[in-house]
């Protein structure tokens, strides 16, 4: 099983917490920017992307495609059409099972929705984050709750069955009770997949900057924990099954592309800052639109990062990402894939992690306990 990821590095403007590589389209107020937007960069970008897609192996036939960013739907309608055409031309589609495209409610147009359907995209992911105006304002989102609802209606009307909705909790200055309403609203929209993330203060973001200067404080651990628990129980009640630390799906609607990452699967990532994993090698593209275009248009591609892991490091990596899934790691499957047993790798550490209630094991598998979920980074740090 293999996947393809495409990174579209544009956004209308940067959200306060975002550390993905994307460049805001223009400066100034949103309205102004939407009006005066020039699509110059995008064209060059599509040319470079074409080159990169052409470099993929002849026999590469992805089972999943994920178009992310940035904001893919930030491309102009015309460019969006050429982009989808490009994919149809350059990618082998005969193995494809899941094709997801991310979108930002503020940028969905009827035309784009139509193009997506036509191209064969069968799953949409919508960055709603919250339905609370204060939260949206704080995060720097460009859309309102109503626009988010409208976007989802638009997609549904166009026939999209499978949809993910992103939510963020643990937002400073926002009443923790907002989460309850957000969850209810998400459930009510009837999407089959919800990803709920706790806000992260990533270095280098304006949010982290504000924190450093003392304007905002991270939400207290206890509150975050309570919110996480609320997410889990509410979504469970609504029939969503938690299959990963922050991912919930109606049975049978898990995101295959994400599972690929956690299962140590192979994938190509195209576009600036995208990551690839192919035949034991991991690499990433430059985190700069300009360099990316230059490299591919002049035939001088050079990965920004590249690594080949030793078999043992690979096996460990499989453990720490595999344990993100609630079903955990199947011993037989693990040994078949890596040649190691978990006991070989970890000795009595696994037993100890079980003793302190972080992991639980049965005859065939090992997985995080509920307490383990909340402390998963500490658990993984023992196993990495």
């Amino acid at each position: 099983m293999a996947g393809l990821y495409i990174h579209i590095p544009f956004c209308v403007r940067k959200c306060i917490y975002c550390d993905f590589y994307s460049i805001p389209s223009v400066e100034g107020s949103v309205a102004q920017r939407l009006r005066s937007y020039v699509y110059a960069d995008q064209h060059v970008f599509l040319d470079a992307l074409e080159k990169e897609l052409e470099s993929l192996p002849e026999d590469f036939a992805p089972e999943t495609i994920f178009i992310g960013g940035g904001t893919p739907t930030e491309l102009s309608d015309r460019d969006f059409a050429s982009f989808l055409d490009l994919l149809r031309q350059k990618v082998t589609f005969d193995q494809l099972r899941e094709w997801t495209c991310e979108s930002n409610p503020g940028t969905l147009t009827e035309e784009k929705v139509r193009l997506l359907r036509e191209a064969g995209v069968n799953r949409m992911s919508i960055g709603v984050q919250s339905f609370d105006p204060a939260a949206l304002e704080f995060l720097g989102r460009i859309h309102s709750a109503d626009e988010a609802r409208a976007g989802i209606r638009l997609l549904k009307a166009a026939g999209f069955q499978s949809m993910n909705l992103d939510l963020i909790y643990g937002i400073p200055t926002v009443d923790p009770d907002v989460l309850s309403a957000d969850l209810a609203a998400a459930v009510e929209l009837g999407v089959d997949h919800i990803a709920a993330y706790c806000l992260i203060f990533e270095d280098g973001t304006p949010l982290a900057d504000l924190q450093r200067k003392g304007y905002v404080k991270e939400v207290d651990d206890d509150v975050e924990l309570a919110q996480y628990q609320l997410v889990r129980s509410r979504l469970a009640d609504a029939g969503y099954h938690q299959y990963e630390l922050s991912n919930f799906a109606k049975p049978g609607h898990e995101c295959l592309h994400n599972l690929l990452y956690w299962d140590g699967g192979e994938y190509f990532g195209c576009g600036p800052s995208a990551h690839s994993h192919w035949q034991g090698r991991r690499w990433s593209n430059v985190r700069s639109l300009e360099s990316y275009c230059k490299q591919w248009l002049t035939g001088t591609f050079a990965p920004a990062m590249e690594e080949m892991l030793s078999p043992e490091a690979k096996a460990r990596e499989l453990v720490i990402f595999g344990l993100r899934k609630t079903r955990g790691i199947q011993f037989a499957d693990f040994t078949a894939r890596t040649g190691y047993t978990l006991d070989q790798l970890y000795g009595d550490t696994l037993g100890w992690l079980c003793d302190i209630g972080m992991l639980t094991r049965d005859a065939g598998s090992i997985r995080l306990t509920e307490s383990g979920l909340f402390l998963s980074d500490s658990v993984f740090a023992e196993l990495v």
């Binding site: 706790c198 995208a274 990062m305 720490i320 979920l373 909340f374 998963s376 500490s378 990495v384």
Partner: protein, 600 residues
């Protein structure tokens, strides 16, 4: 050779800032030992640190010539004494080299604790004491009251006090004259050569320089001398007087004070209090009974930067050349790495040494919580000296423990007597005497364990008295005490570095303090961590570091597996850098903070 009847050997004892150095300067001036041009103010204190802290650490003798009213020329040997009880052994050796002592009291301040302690030392040595009231030129001088205090404390008639101004010189001439009449001349008591070693100095070119007071016989250049304490013989390369620099002479004879340079390469061979005699005709009667000085206070010294270890070793080596009372032994601490267990004469000595190492050798140091030296009596009857709390035998093997005591003299204002007594009682002190000094002040004499003043006692004293109280002490032997070893257990495992020896009644309080401090310093783990303080396996205090609440980075996106893995690896590395006690990680910082300040 000077006629014995024309020699006067004396020292000056005083509380800090009461004018010892200034008076010495005036004397040097009046006797024309140094001319006006070369007289640097306060000639006697030449170490920066001394000057900064206003204490005299090392004795610098000086020889002066004074022509008295009787027309005779007298040799005055002034032997300066270190002004602090940590060096009381050196003080007594210096005093032993004299027949008299000038006791200075500042007329504006009155008698202070140090004055009392040192006056008692001089009295104990049978010296003639000349009480001097200094700074009479100052408006606020209260000469009569100070004279009265001196009478109270020293039982010297108030009318016998000399009233001087070391600054203006008033009364100094009279004082010089009094030295001639009040201080007895030296007496010869033995027909074989004997000289007392009262100090030494190390010169990188000339080796060890021995400071001596000759009691009997004489020592000349070319003689073979013997140090009775060590039994080592040396050839005398040079002898001379301090005038005030080293001035060579053909010989030193009975009653005189001077230096000997011989081929002594290892300064540890020169031991203060030792007796020098002639190797060919040795005396078999040492002068004062040589006593090895034992360090009273120990503390670990570690370089902050572990790569500075060799530099530290080198610096300590160099340092001991001029301070043989300081000892050090390599030790390694699980928490702090390689360092040294260092022994000091007392608290001040410890501070001085640490400060000099920092400054003169430019090393960042961590010094650990100090402790005194215990005498541990095992159930099998053996006695063991324990210099490091972590080396205490198992409690089942201990019959009893003795700890060093001090006799402290404290002078304070009348109105704070209540707080003062409370403070002393908190420190397990037994007050022996309370004496009225004057209308404002009292003097308390108190016996208490040395251990109790190691940490923050001076600060407490100063805060209770708003800076007015003064204290000095003398060592007062060992006493059996209900001492226990306090152990700290983290998640059930003892952490040796945190253990300490202390009185049973203090164990719980200190245990609680340590537990609370560690609660702040040990990062939460995936499980609750119990921090316990225990005495003889019985828990006396405990606290729990509650488990970490949440450590999950929910987002893992876009296939950037590498970054996430590296973050986790960094988290793991960070943990590895900490000290693992069982499954608990304790940051280096926690050790440093707890061991250094001793918390609170």
């Amino acid at each position: 050779m000077t006629d014995l009847s024309r020699i006067r050997n004396f020292s000056i004892i005083a509380h800090i800032d009461h004018g010892k150095s200034t008076l010495a300067d005036r004397m040097l001036e009046l006797t024309q030992t140094v001319d006006q041009r070369n007289l640097k103010a306060q000639l006697l204190d030449d170490m920066d640190l001394e000057r900064e802290r206003g204490i005299t650490i090392k004795a610098h003798p000086v020889t002066m010539y004074y022509t008295a009213k009787d027309g005779h020329r007298y040799m005055f040997n002034l032997i300066d004494t270190p002004g602090h009880v940590d060096f009381s052994y050196e003080v007594t050796r210096s005093l032993a080299a004299c027949e008299g002592a000038i006791l200075i009291v500042d007329a504006t301040q009155g008698v202070e604790a140090q004055t009392v302690a040192n006056a008692y030392l001089a009295e104990g040595q049978g010296l003639a004491i000349l009480p001097v009231i200094n700074k009479i030129d100052v408006k606020t001088a209260n000469v009569d009251e100070v004279a009265h205090q001196i009478e109270e404390i020293l039982a010297t008639p108030a009318s016998d006090c000399y009233k001087v101004s070391a600054k203006t010189g008033v009364g100094v001439q009279e004082l010089l004259e009094a030295l001639v009449h009040q201080v007895p001349p030296p007496k010869v008591t033995n027909d074989r050569t004997r000289a007392l070693v009262f100090d030494s100095e190390y010169d990188s070119f000339r080796g060890g320089i021995t400071y001596v007071r000759v009691f009997d016989g004489k020592i000349s250049k070319g003689d073979r001398i013997r140090l009775l304490g060590t039994g080592n013989d040396y050839e005398v390369k040079e002898v001379g007087f301090f005038n005030p620099g080293l001035v060579p002479r053909p010989s030193l004879s009975a009653g005189e004070v001077g230096y000997i340079i011989s081929n002594i390469r290892d300064p540890a061979e020169i031991r203060i209090g030792d007796t020098v005699t002639q190797a060919r005709m040795p005396s078999d009667q040492p002068l004062t009974g040589f006593k090895d000085v034992h360090p009273m206070v120990f503390s670990g010294i570690y370089p902050v930067d572990t790569s500075d270890f060799e530099k530290l070793r080198f610096s300590l080596e160099k340092y001991t050349l001029n301070d043989s009372s300081f000892t050090y032994m390599p030790e390694s601490s699980v928490a702090l790495g390689l360092g040294f267990r260092c022994g000091f004469l007392g608290l001040l000595h410890m501070e001085v040494v640490q400060e000099r190492l920092r400054r003169e050798y430019d090393i960042d140091l961590i010094s650990t919580y100090p402790n005194v030296v215990y005498r541990v009596h095992r159930t099998n009857g053996q006695m063991e000296i324990v210099e490091n709390p972590t080396r205490l035998p198992d409690w089942t093997e201990i019959d009893h423990i003795e700890e060093p005591m001090i006799k402290a003299f404290l002078i304070c204002q009348n109105e704070i007597i209540g707080d003062m007594m409370q403070l002393l009682m908190d420190r397990r002190g037994v007050i022996e005497k309370t004496e009225t000094l004057d209308s404002r002040r009292l003097m308390l004499t108190c016996v208490l364990p040395l251990n109790e003043i190691l940490i923050d006692f001076h600060d407490k004293l100063k805060s209770v008295s708003r800076g007015y109280a003064s204290m000095d002490y003398e060592h007062f032997g060992y006493q059996e005490s209900d001492l226990v070893k306090l152990e700290i257990l983290v998640h059930g495992d003892p952490v040796e570095a945190f253990s300490s020896i202390l009185h049973r009644t203090k164990a719980e309080g200190r245990g609680r303090q340590l537990c609370e401090a560690l609660k702040e310093l040990i990062p939460p783990a995936m499980f609750p961590i119990a921090v316990q303080a225990s005495v003889n396996k019985k828990v006396v205090a405990r606290t729990t570091i509650r488990a970490m609440r949440k450590d999950v980075t929910a987002k893992c996106y876009g296939g950037d597996i590498t970054r996430k893995r590296k973050l986790l690896e960094r988290q793991k590395e960070g943990k590895k850098k900490m000290k693992q006690i069982g499954r608990v990680s304790i940051p280096q910082d926690a050790f440093v903070k707890v061991l250094k300040t001793g918390v609170g």
